[in-house]
C-alpha cells in the first residue's frame, strides 16, 4: 500500500508540512482563516537536532501496537490506514504510550489524533507531501 515516507537527507526543517497538515485537518478552506493567531496541532511533527531534521507521522504499521492497545476499539485499520473514531475514544492515551514513533498525540478535544493520510479530509491525498518543497516527504508504494 502507499505510505508516507520521509527522506531525512532532503528535509530542510522548514516545518511547512506541519502547517499544511494543520490546515488540511482544520475543515477550513482558507489557510489564513484556519491558522492565523493559533497554536497549531499538526499530526506530523518535525524532529530536529544538530542540523538533522525529519518529519514524523504515523507509519500505518501492518501490526500496529496502537490498535492492539486501544481499549475501546476506537483505533481500527481500514484498507491499511489506521483510523481513529473520536466518538469511541475515551482519551486513555494508551495508544500514545504504546506508539514507538510518537506518532499519536492528544488532539486538545479529549480524544487522540493521528495522521490518517488525509483520507477523511477534503484534501484526499496527504497535504504534507504536497506541501513539502523538497520532496523530503513522499507518498509511494514500497516493497
Amino acid at each position: 500500500m502507499k505510505r508516507i515516507y520521509v527522506n531525512e537527507k532532503w528535509c530542510l526543517g522548514c516545518h511547512l508540512c506541519e502547517y499544511y497538515c494543520a490546515f488540511a485537518n482544520s475543515g477550513s478552506d482558507d489557510m489564513v482563516k484556519a491558522l492565523k493567531d493559533i497554536t497549531i496541532h499538526p499530526r506530523i511533527k518535525i524532529e530536529e537536532r544538530q542540523g538533522i531534521s525529519f518529519a514524523v507521522s504515523c507509519r500505518h504499521c501492518e501490526e500496529p501496537l496502537c490498535v492492539k492497545s486501544c481499549i475501546t476499539g476506537a483505533l481500527t485499520i481500514h484498507d491499511g490506514v489506521i483510523t481513529i473514531d473520536s466518538d469511541k475514544c475515551v482519551g486513555c492515551y494508551t495508544c500514545i504510550l504504546s506508539c514507538p514513533y510518537g506518532a499519536v498525540m492528544p488532539s486538545g478535544s479529549g480524544a487522540i489524533q493521528k495522521c490518517e493520510l488525509c483520507v477523511k479530509n477534503s484534501f484526499g491525498t496527504p497535504a504534507c507531501v504536497q506541501g513539502c518543497p523538497n520532496k523530503a516527504i513522499v507518498y509511494e508504494e514500497r516493497a
Binding site: L12, V32, K36
Partner: protein, 501 residues
C-alpha cells in the same frame, strides 16, 4: 558605527493580515533578514540584508510576502543614477573592487530581440511536427575536407571524433565549487537523460560523477584544477577555457573558505587554499601555444575525443576564431558579454566584451570566407534565454548553444546575483550543507529535462513553420531572419536583411 550612506535597495513587505507566523521565511533565509518577535507575535525584517532571492516569497504558504524595489531615491539625475552613486559610496567605504555575479544586467541592445523568424506561406508548405519527423540531432566536430575510399571503393569513415546531441543545447561550464554538488548532479543526470552534454567547469570532476562521463565535457582552464589523466579520459570531450564572457581577460578566484572537503579533493588543492585561475594559461601566450595544448590533450586521450576551445566574445573575435579553427580544435565555444559568472569584478562584467549575436555572425562569416567553416563546429553561449534565441543563433550560423543561466533558473535560481556571497538560498551557488540540500537533484534534473524538452518542441514548431525538417538546414540559413529596428551596419554585421526587404 560609521555611516555608510547606503540605503537598502529592497524592502520586504509582509501582509500581516495573511501572515500565520509559520516562520518558514525566517528558517529559509540564509541572510537572516527575518526573525520572529514573540512579544508581538509578528515577523520582523531587516531590509538591508535582503538580496531579493525570493526564497521566502516562494515558500510562504499564505503568499503574505513580497519584495519591492525601494522608492527611496536620490535627487533624480540621468547621469548620476542611484546605483552609480551607491557604488561610489560602497567603494569609498571599503577600498575594494566591486564584485558581482551572473550576467551583465545593463541595458545594452539585445540583438536576439531585434531579429524575427520566417514562416512558409503558399509557395512552400509549413511542416507539422506532430505529423512529420522533425530532426534536431546535431553532430559537433571537424568534418573532413575530402572523402576517402578503400581499394573496393567503399567510403572510409575518416571523421574526427564527434559529439552527438539529440537537440542543439548543452549545459555550459559551471565548476564544482562555484555551484553545489546537487546542482552538478542535476545537470549530469539531465544531460544523460536528454542525450546531450554538461560541462564540469574548471573545478575538476567529483568522483561520484565519473559515471556520467559519456555526457560530460571536462574543462581544462588556466588553474588546471583537478586535471589528470583519468579526468581527461572520463569525459566525452575536453574543453580548453581561454576566456569567459562575463570576465574576458581575467582569471578566477575561489576563496580558500570554499575549498573544503570534496571541493578540495576534486580540485586537488589543499583545504583552505585560495583557488586562483590565472588570467592567461601560462603555457599559452599565443596561438601556436594553443595548438600545442590542443594536441597535448589529444595525445593524452589518443585522439578519441574532440577538443573544444572556449573564448570570450571580444572585439577581434573573428580573427581569433579563425586562428583557433586552424589550431586543431574541433569545436569553438564563444561566450558573449552577457554570460554568467559565480563572481566577477562588476566593472569588467558590465563593460568588457561584445554581444554574442554580433560575435557569432562575424565568426561564422569569417570562417566561411576563409573556407574553413567545416574545420570546426561553433557553439555559442552568453545569454540564450529561450527557444527563439536558439533558433536565431542557429540561423546565424551556430551548430549548437550553451546554456547556463537558464539552466540555473530551471533549478530555482532567481537571479539575485549574489552568488559571490556563498549564501545561495536555493542550494545552487553555495557549499553550505544545510543550503546545498535545498536542491534535491531528483526535482532539479526533472526540471532541466522539462525545460529542454519544452524548448525542443518549440524549436521543432518554428522549424516546421519555416518548412525545415532538419536542424542542419537551419544552420547558417540567414535568409530565415530579418532585422527589426537595426542600422545598416548592424544588419551588415549580422548578415541579414531588414524586415520588409
Amino acid at each position: 558605527m560609521a555611516v555608510d550612506f547606503l540605503y537598502p535597495p529592497y524592502e520586504v513587505i509582509r501582509n500581516h493580515d495573511k501572515c500565520i507566523t509559520c516562520r518558514v521565511c525566517e528558517r529559509q533565509c540564509a541572510n537572516e533578514v527575518t526573525r520572529y518577535d514573540p512579544q508581538h507575535n509578528r515577523m520582523i525584517s531587516d531590509d538591508a540584508k535582503c538580496v531579493n532571492c525570493h526564497r521566502c516569497v516562494s515558500l510562504c504558504p499564505t503568499r503574505a510576502i513580497k519584495i519591492v524595489k525601494t522608492d527611496h531615491t536620490f535627487k533624480t539625475n540621468a547621469n548620476w543614477t542611484g546605483d552609480t552613486i551607491s557604488a561610489v559610496y560602497r567603494q569609498a567605504g571599503t577600498g575594494g573592487v566591486l564584485l558581482s555575479s551572473m550576467g551583465n544586467p545593463e541595458a545594452y541592445p539585445v540583438y536576439w530581440d531585434k531579429m524575427l523568424i520566417n514562416a512558409s506561406q503558399v509557395t512552400n508548405p509549413p511542416i507539422d511536427p506532430l505529423r512529420e519527423p522533425m530532426e534536431t540531432k546535431v553532430f559537433l566536430g571537424q568534418k573532413p575536407d575530402a572523402v576517402q575510399r578503400d581499394e573496393q571503393g567503399k567510403l572510409i569513415n575518416n571523421l574526427a571524433p564527434q559529439l552527438e546531441l539529440s537537440t542543439p543545447v548543452m549545459f555550459s561550464a559551471m565548476s564544482y565549487g562555484s555551484i553545489s554538488y546537487n546542482a552538478h548532479e542535476s545537470l549530469a543526470r539531465a544531460a544523460q537523460e536528454l542525450e546531450i552534454y554538461y560541462n564540469t567547469g574548471e573545478g575538476g570532476l567529483h568522483e561520484d560523477f565519473y559515471k556520467y562521463g559519456k555526457n560530460t565535457i571536462v574543462q581544462v582552464a588556466s588553474g588546471r584544477f583537478g586535471v589528470y589523466k583519468d579526468y581527461l579520459e572520463a569525459g566525452a570531450a575536453i574543453e580548453i577555457k581561454m576566456g569567459q564572457g562575463a570576465k574576458p581577460g581575467i582569471g578566477g578566484h575561489l576563496p580558500g573558505a570554499k575549498i573544503v572537503g570534496d571541493i578540495s579533493k576534486t580540485r586537488m588543492i589543499p583545504e583552505g587554499s585560495d583557488a586562483i585561475s590565472p588570467a592567461p594559461h601560462h603555457d599559452i601566450y599565443s596561438i601556436e601555444d594553443l595548438r600545442q595544448l590542443v594536441f597535448s590533450l589529444k595525445e593524452a586521450t589518443e585522439y578519441k575525443k574532440p577538443v573544444i576551445v572556449k573564448i570570450a566574445a571580444v572585439h577581434n573575435v573573428a580573427a581569433i576564431a579563425s586562428g583557433i579553427a586552424r589550431s586543431g580544435a574541433d569545436i569553438i565555444a564563444i561566450d558573449g558579454f552577457r554570460g554568467g559568472t559565480g563572481a566577477a569584478p562588476t566593472r569588467i562584467r558590465d563593460n568588457v566584451g561584445i554581444p554574442i549575436e554580433l560575435a557569432l555572425a562575424s565568426v561564422d562569416e569569417r570562417l566561411r570566407q576563409e573556407g574553413i567553416r567545416g574545420n570546426v563546429s561553433i557553439v555559442v553561449g552568453g545569454s540564450i534565454r529561450n527557444s527563439a534565441d536558439i533558433v536565431k543563433a542557429i540561423a546565424l550560423g551556430a551548430d549548437a548553444v550553451y546554456i547556463a543561466t537558464s539552466a540555473l533558473l530551471a533549478l530555482g535560481c532567481h537571479l539575485c546575483r549574489s552568488c559571490q556571497t556563498g549564501k545561495c538560498n536555493w542550494g545552487i551557488a553555495t557549499q553550505r550543507p544545510e543550503l546545498v540540500k535545498r536542491l534535491n537533484p531528483e526535482i532539479g534534473y526533472q526540471r532541466l529535462v522539462n525545460l529542454i524538452t519544452a524548448w525542443t518542441h518549440e524549436i521543432e514548431e518554428m522549424m516546421g513553420g519555416m518548412g525545415i525538417n532538419s536542424i542542419e538546414a537551419l544552420r547558417g540559413n540567414r535568409l530565415m531572419l530579418r532585422g527589426i529596428g537595426l542600422t545598416e551596419k548592424e544588419l551588415q554585421i549580422l548578415g541579414i536583411k531588414h524586415a520588409g526587404e
